[in-house]
Symmetry: C2
Subunit: 396 residues, 2 copies
């Protein structure tokens, strides 16, 4: 009954699936408090209180047929306008509702964008390590994923390598900053260099290359580090934004796409995106959540909780002799595997009831990802396990 | 910037898009009360009051991280279990949570199912007239749509014609009952015959053919007509259900898929569906709405309002000499175009500020669809326009 390509995808996705099941099994055996599950990017920090207040307010004060009804495929015009105005204020842009398409999370947004632009066999370039789901998104629309190798130990974008991987057949480049899984934030200089490469290559091949900026972690930047606003540097930019992490609403599936007003054929692209989002089955983003985010454009989750986790985890692991990439944003720590195989290291960690994800899942073997969107207790209590591992491997 | 296939889809979808814009233009010119927009299937009947009560109750009494967080890709296990139990009670089935996958409406469900089962080039058979979006859904997954011609004037399924259109390459047959756009409900005898054809053909070709039952209108059946429960008649059945119409929640994007427990490899299919829904970007269905529908399994919209509309519209148009298919369910009336071209008739109607959709959009030229999910005033006030048309065409 199952298609060949899905059989393949199920087999590939079984690593994280097994980890999920293993986590549940271990929690049952040893008690949830004795299992240190760093495997998933599921925020443990609550949504701001204003979210639930808005839901109740909107339900009490909006006519039912309007509140729960269909609207334009791209979303409620007034919601899109509010988001456009909020971006204009923050980034000094000139967007209107036509530049904003509400999406079913960033995942839905990525699929809608790729469907809009990809012809079969066209290439989509990603910089490793990259979010593993991009493999599926690109395959959905018959594209070909092209991977720029990782650039350790800083994991800043290697723009010379990027240059070499762009061909006449490149339709898009996906970037993700703050980055999952490294926590690195691309600097203004990084973005300028990426934009230069794309401009040069577009001219050389006489093509239009889209820059797709996947930004679920935009607001999760520490120490006041500025996350550059990509459309300022490259015209053919789509932003794929999500409220999953910035407002701790991952289950609600709400985000938006920005179609830069400077993009070639911006209005036609918006029309096509509107059809793509419908045809893919999203139809429109969840109605009530559209209104909720529009009422919470300046709300924020408690970033300090993540920051404390970040410092405790980075400090603790570094002290134990582990080699970590310094995380500037998102809620992931990327760590060099102290044994050659990252998968083997994840097995070693599991013996201490510590669940982490091998870098191989992100196109970067030899490293592991530790998601610190967990309670601070989980981090502190995991340290004795990490210490045991460190000693057994002679790191400290 | 836009892909070739999307350019094509945008061009094709422009008929309904233009109608949408035309409706807004006419409303501005003549006042909304003087425009009779029967073009969209957007329920005008309010969601039951218990929906908003549940939203408030759930928000006030659920821990935020749980309420708005990620869960299993297939949805909250307890929600899926409740839906399974509700179906078991209603249809005497033996489902468990593994047989239920929460979906982002029926559109999301259809895409997830087709991605799960379709190999490139495999055929998906539909019976005209059919919901035009199936074209896009099947194309998304590189399938080939095969159309069984319409069967006027009753529009019951022509199972002999169906038989002829099934080949060794057929992977699925989509049915939709109560039907959009005809309002016809397939009888038990119809379903038995369809099941017989599929069983015979599966054996003949040694293939597994899925029957995909698209059921957003399941609860919208009038005069107590029973809508047969498809898995009772054919083992390899998926049901694609939506609360868009049954609870008037189209904007919220919430529904579910049933994977029949009698389906070949049912558990493996469920696993694959779980990956497909994630990879397509749905990830999971909107969290809060999952909990809301689970708390409203026995809730119903005001069916009497639709029934009154149905009677008034069918009666009124029949009296004016129009030839209508008797609508048994859903909220659509399918009417023979009194002039040869259905598109021309829609233009004639528009001159009276009446907006209806040509049957061509459903693979059935020569007919038009009138969506009566509107206020009863809209129906009554449109009658003078229909009368003018009837007289001008010599129908009465």
């Amino acid at each position: 009954m199952i298609s060949e390509s899905m059989k393949e995808q199920v087999a590939k996705s079984s690593v994280i699936r097994q980890m999920f099941e293993e986590g549940a099994r271990l929690a049952q055996l040893y008690g949830a408090e004795n299992v240190f599950d760093f495997s998933l990017g599921n925020p443990n920090v609550e949504a701001p209180a204003s979210i639930n207040e808005s839901i109740i307010d909107i339900v009490n004060n909006t006519e039912s047929v309007k509140l729960h009804g269909y609207m334009n495929n791209m979303g409620f015009p007034e919601v899109r306008k509010k988001i456009a105005e909020s971006l204009n204020k923050k980034y000094n842009t000139h967007y209107d509702e036509i530049n904003i398409c509400m999406s079913v999370g960033a995942a839905g947004g990525m699929n809608a964008i790729l469907k809009t632009i990809l012809n079969p066999g066209e290439e989509v370039v990603v910089l490793a390590p990259y979010f593993g789901e991009y493999n599926g998104y690109v395959a959905n629309h018959n594209g070909k994923l092209v991977t720029v190798p990782p650039n350790p130990p800083t994991f800043r974008p290697d723009t010379k390598a990027l240059d070499k991987h762009i061909t006449a057949n490149t339709k898009a480049v996906i970037i993700n900053t703050p980055n999952n899984p490294t926590g690195v934030i691309y600097s203004e200089d990084d973005i300028k260099k990426i934009a230069e490469v794309l401009k040069k290559k577009s001219e050389e091949y006489n093509t239009d290359i889209a820059l797709v900026s996947d930004e679920p972690y935009r607001e999760l930047a520490f120490e006041g580090i500025k996350v550059p606003f990509i459309p300022d540097y490259y015209d053919n930019t789509f932003i794929c934004y999500s409220y999953s992490k910035s407002l701790s609403l991952p289950g609600e599936r709400i985000g938006y796409i920005v179609i830069s007003d400077k993009m070639k054929d911006a209005d036609e692209v918006a029309s096509a995106l509107s059809v793509a989002t419908r045809t893919l089955g999203f139809v429109n983003a969840p109605a009530i959540m559209q209104m909720v985010v529009a009422a919470n454009l300046d709300a924020q989750v408690n970033l300090e909780a993540y920051d404390k986790n970040r410092k405790d985890l980075y400090g603790g692991l570094s002290d134990l002799g582990f080699e970590c990439v310094y995380p500037e944003g998102a809620f992931y720590l990327f760590m060099k595997s102290p044994v050659e195989s990252d998968k083997e290291f994840c097995e070693i960690a599991k013996r201490e009831n510590i669940l982490i994800v091998p870098g191989s899942a992100f196109g970067c073997p030899g490293y592991v990802r530790i998601a610190y969107c967990v309670s601070n207790d989980t981090i502190r209590n995991s340290m004795s396990g990490f210490e045991k591992i460190s000693k057994s491997l002679g790191l400290s």
